[in-house]
């Protein structure tokens, strides 16, 4: 009899276990049941929004400074516009978007000059910026680009951080009303951790877009296989102009790359043009900078398209224009 009793207990134990197993398997199955096939291209839809970094509703300000020394030029140009404190408030975090596209030495003019980076970092820190960060998503190997262009060393010496892009810093972004920048990876992390953005771009010849200046510089915030946008480069630049509303941009035309841009590679590609433009309106900066390449704003379709998209004005003379000669 004792054997039967044990069997009964054993039987109940087994029944319970079987019941629990069936319930577990059943609830797992039902909980994860999916009657519909997965979507064509899955993944989170772009929910990223980018802030407006501009200095507010004041009319645009622009200063065209003539001279040869970048450090003096940029200091005096900013001074003419009310000083860096007009753009950067104490305690703010500033992002400098340089052009570090190529692993090329500074003397060849394919990248933002380290002297300019150093000077702007110092200006920001003097204005009380809490933190200054320098970034770009270059075309050549990122680490090499920052090192060889001298930007990395210059930025660190002046007290800024350098963010070399990595996969995890990108997020997908869709520009409202945009046709090309849709669900596209953007170098989001540095953008989201900044209160102000200053674009620092050299003046360069560009075979496809006609010129690479402050607007084209935003291309370096895109990730992914962005060069497919070259099929419609002018529209893309106009969309970038809407996407990034910078605090101020600096267009460095002390030397301009006249030929073989945007890579250059020889000193003979450069021409001393002795001009540096600081502007709250990148469209105006590019419109003014076109002359350094011997072109006019209407030769560059992206300028008109950016203006039409409401990113700024081509008529830089109508702005609060200051023209100075650096001493």
């Amino acid at each position: 009899m004792s054997e039967t009793a044990m069997d009964r207990r054993e039987f109940i134990r087994r029944c319970t276990r079987a019941g629990v197993c069936v319930a577990a398997a059943g609830s797992l199955g039902v909980a994860f049941y999916d009657s519909r096939a997965p979507a064509a291209i899955p993944g989170p839809t772009a929910a990223l929004t980018l802030p407006d970094y501009s200095v507010g509703p004041l009319p645009g300000r622009i200063c065209i400074a003539r001279g040869v020394d970048r450090k003096r030029l940029v200091r005096q140009a900013f001074a003419a516009l009310g000083g860096m404190q007009a753009f950067v408030n104490p305690g703010e975090r500033v992002l400098l978007k340089v052009n570090a596209a190529f692993a090329s030495p500074p003397g060849l003019g394919a990248t933002t000059h380290p002297d300019l980076v150093k000077a702007v970092v110092r200006l920001c820190l003097e204005a009380g910026a809490k933190k200054v960060t320098v970034t770009d998503n270059p075309i050549n190997d990122p680490a090499s680009c920052f090192a060889l262009s001298g930007i990395d060393a210059a930025a660190r010496q002046a007290g800024a951080d350098v963010i070399v892009p990595r996969q995890s810093l990108f997020q997908r972004f869709s520009l409202t009303g945009g046709r090309l920048v849709r669900d596209w990876p953007v170098l989001a992390a540095p953008l989201l951790q900044a209160d102000r953005i200053i674009g620092l771009a050299p003046v360069k010849d560009h075979h496809r877009s006609g010129a690479s200046m402050t607007l084209k510089n935003w291309y370096g915030l895109l990730g992914g296989r962005r060069n497919i946008f070259h099929q419609d480069v002018h529209t893309l630049i106009a969309e970038l102009a809407v996407m990034i509303r910078p605090t101020v941009v600096v267009l460095d035309g002390t030397q301009s790359m006249i030929t073989n841009g945007p890579t250059g590679g020889s000193l003979s590609d450069l021409k001393p043009t002795g001009t540096l433009i600081v502007s709250t309106d990148p469209v105006a900066a590019d419109a003014a900078g076109a002359a350094l390449l011997g072109k006019q704003a209407q030769d560059l379709p992206f300028i008109a398209r950016a203006e039409k998209a409401g990113a700024g004005t081509t008529d830089y003379r109508a702005l609060n224009l200051k023209e100075i000669k650096a001493i």
Binding site: R14, A18, C21, G29, F32, R36, P38, A40, G224, D232
Partner: protein, 645 residues
């Protein structure tokens, strides 16, 4: 009726059902064709397919819910699937029986005894499932360590536990708190290590050895194509499957291993068997001995299909419920019921901790290692063209079980099992090869996705494929883009009119368009005008064979009349060249140089219209290596393939 007769009827039924499903996987409306037959039902009944995709994707897709039925049956009744349903098991049993039926009892008993190596199937199961679990692990380890509060909380908790571990007197509790602390530290540490790294990735590889996908694949791709003939027309004739030799080799090897040990595959390899063993370890009903009467005659061991030692301590998890022991026992000792076996029982093989960990870790580690090839990233292979509706590569590899259903049903035989072109992970996954088959990928066909049991190829509606109706804004599904190889193309490289590709392009307006060019023909000498008689040009120079130049594709220009468009040659004979018209009369004079030109239509591809169907590649008369070939560029399934704005 004897119980084993019932079992045999069940096995025969499911085996024939399986064969029927394979045979009817041919597009058509006849009873012996696809119509509405649930040809993937046996795959859906396989819970390993469900579990594997559940681990890899976090979802149990549609019909895979059938796997639950098998799971529930197994929990209550034991491995009834292995012994009564599995068609692959039935095949093994039959072959094993044929091979061993004349052997002596001692040899049969020896062949059917339990072997410790039977636990290898667990190793295989754990290895394959852990390979699929990479993303699940990543989810477990993703504790958002960015949040400093979480990190502080975890640190405080483990510190408290650590102090408790030291303080607690009882060794039992001390041990468990230590384990808890180590787990937390390991969890956080791994979370940091794997965050944003390539250390975890998921890939579903169960299909390599899962018996139902294996059997479907083998029959679909290596048997039916051989049998397909005048007497038994299984599908459109002449099916070819490049690379099927490896599939056939695996199949015949595991079938022939039954000659050595019956049910070799089931006992040593089958990962599904291992899964069902785990589920059936504590099955309510099981085989067992009754308390009295066993004379140790060995009749049960002799015919045991599961090699589970019914005469002694019965390894109940290994039992496939063949019921041979029950039927053969002369003393009626064996029974199937709720009672444990009187001679004792144990669940079955157990992996040592070490074996378990080794299988688990190597499975988890294997996929990231494979991914270093970049096959799903920057190094994607443009030669891998997946069927319309296929998911992007990473998600595709989380679902495809390599069952070959899509390849079998494809009416044009363009879907083939991949060799190594899609990487080791992609072995036997479907790729399109337009050199083989009766045509390219038919624009109006969506058969492959309807048969895919796991939605690795989504079941798309025709409207989605064609980009109309509610899918109009997305346009048609593109599986690739055709590229003209101008070095091989007859008009481009060899001055021969052709454009078969343009003619066959099925989209409207055509994705292949042409531009006209009149190219001078290579002759062995100059042609000079001697005299002009109405529409005839008499000339000096090498002979112009009419069969070549009077075909309608050849034209004439005269050097002295550069403004006059080429004029078609109507005929060539003793009277010289007859022209369709003669506009040269006014300007040309004897001695003028005559140029014979061929009118070529040079093909171009408009990538915005091309859907990559490969019909052009299939039809291209340059048969060796086609002069127009589809490549996976611009395929809609993957962002990385994008080509146009």
């Amino acid at each position: 009726m004897r119980i084993i007769t019932t079992r045999r009827i069940s096995q025969t039924f499911f085996f024939l059902l399986f064969l029927w499903f394979c045979a009817v996987s041919t597009l058509g409306e006849q009873v012996w064709q696809l119509r509405g037959w649930p040809v993937g039902w046996l795959l859906e009944l396989d819970p390993l397919v469900g579990l594997g995709t559940l681990l890899a994707t976090g979802t149990l897709y549609a019909g895979l819910l059938w796997g639950l039925l098998t799971v529930v049956l197994t929990i209550f009744l034991g491995r009834v699937f292995c012994g009564w349903i599995c068609p692959f098991g039935a095949l093994h049993q039959a072959v094993g029986w044929l091979a061993g039926r004349k052997r002596s009892a001692a040899v049969q008993i020896a062949a059917n005894r339990y072997r410790p190596a039977q636990r290898i199937k667990y190793v295989i199961l754990i290895f394959l499932l852990s390979g699929a679990a990479g993303d699940f692990l990543a989810w477990l380890l993703d504790l958002s360590v960015e949040s400093s509060i979480a990190v502080a909380g975890i640190a405080a908790a483990s510190l408290a536990c650590g102090i408790a571990a030291v303080r607690v007197r009882k060794a039992f509790w001390r041990r468990w708190t230590t384990v808890l602390v180590l787990l937390i530290i390991g969890w956080v540490g791994l979370g940091f290590l794997t965050d944003g790294s390539r250390l975890l990735a998921a890939s579903l590889q169960t299909g390599l050895l899962d018996p139902l996908p294996l059997f479907y694949r083998s029959v679909n791709l290596t048997l039916l194509p051989l049998l397909d003939g005048r007497m038994a027309a299984f599908s459109s004739p002449g099916r070819l499957y490049p690379g099927s030799v490896a599939i056939g080799l695996l199949f015949w090897t595991v079938v022939l291993l039954n000659l050595v040990i019956p049910r070799f595959y089931c006992r040593f390899i089958c990962p599904l068997g291992a899964l069902l063993e785990i589920l059936g370890r504590n099955a309510l009903y099981r085989m067992g001995q009754k308390p009295d009467g066993c004379t140790a005659c060995g009749a049960c061991d002799r015919h045991c299909e599961g090699a589970c030692d019914p005469s002694t301590t019965l390894r109940s998890a290994e039992c496939v419920l063949c019921m041979n022991c029950l039927d053969r026992c002369p003393h009626d000792v064996m029974g199937y019921g709720l009672h444990p076996s009187a001679a004792g029982e144990m669940a079955g093989p157990d992996l040592s901790k070490r074996e378990f960990t080794a299988a688990l870790v190597s499975g988890v580690a294997a996929v990231p290692l494979l991914r270093l090839s970049g096959g799903v990233d920057a190094n994607w292979n443009p030669a891998v063209i997946r069927p319309p509706g296929a998911l992007d590569e990473a998600n595709f590899l989380r679902r495809c079980i390599k069952c070959g259903q899509c390849m079998r049903v494809c009416p044009t035989n363009v879907i083939h099992p991949a060799g190594l072109q899609a990487g080791i992970e992609g072995i036997w996954t479907p790729v399109l090869n337009f050199r083989v088959g009766t045509s390219g990928c038919q624009r109006g066909c969506i058969a492959c996705g309807q048969l895919c049991p796991t939605a690795a190829i989504r079941p798309i509606p025709l409207d989605e494929r064609l980009g109309r109706g509610e899918f109009a804004d997305r346009g048609p599904i593109r599986i690739g883009t055709a590229f003209v190889d101008r070095g091989r193309c007859l008009p481009w490289a060899m001055d021969r009119p052709c454009i078969v590709c343009q003619e066959n392009c099925p989209v409207s307006p055509k994705a292949i368009f042409t531009r006209e060019e009149f190219r001078p023909v290579r002759l062995s000498g100059d042609l000079r005008l001697r005299e002009m008689v109405e529409d005839r040009l008499l000339f000096d120079g090498p002979a112009l064979p009419a069969e070549r130049f009077a075909t309608g594709d050849y034209f004439v220009t005269l050097e002295e009349s550069p403004d006059i468009a080429p004029v078609r040659i109507k005929d060539i004979g003793s009277g010289g060249i007859s022209l369709a018209e003669n506009p040269f009369v006014e300007t040309a004079s004897p001695g003028a140089r005559i140029t014979v030109r061929v009118k070529l239509q040079l093909p171009f591809v408009d990538p915005s219209a091309c859907i990559g169907c490969g019909i052009c590649e299939h039809e291209c008369p340059v048969k060796g290596r086609r002069a127009i070939r589809v490549s996976a560029e611009n395929a809609s399934r993957d962002r990385q393939h994008r080509l146009l704005l």
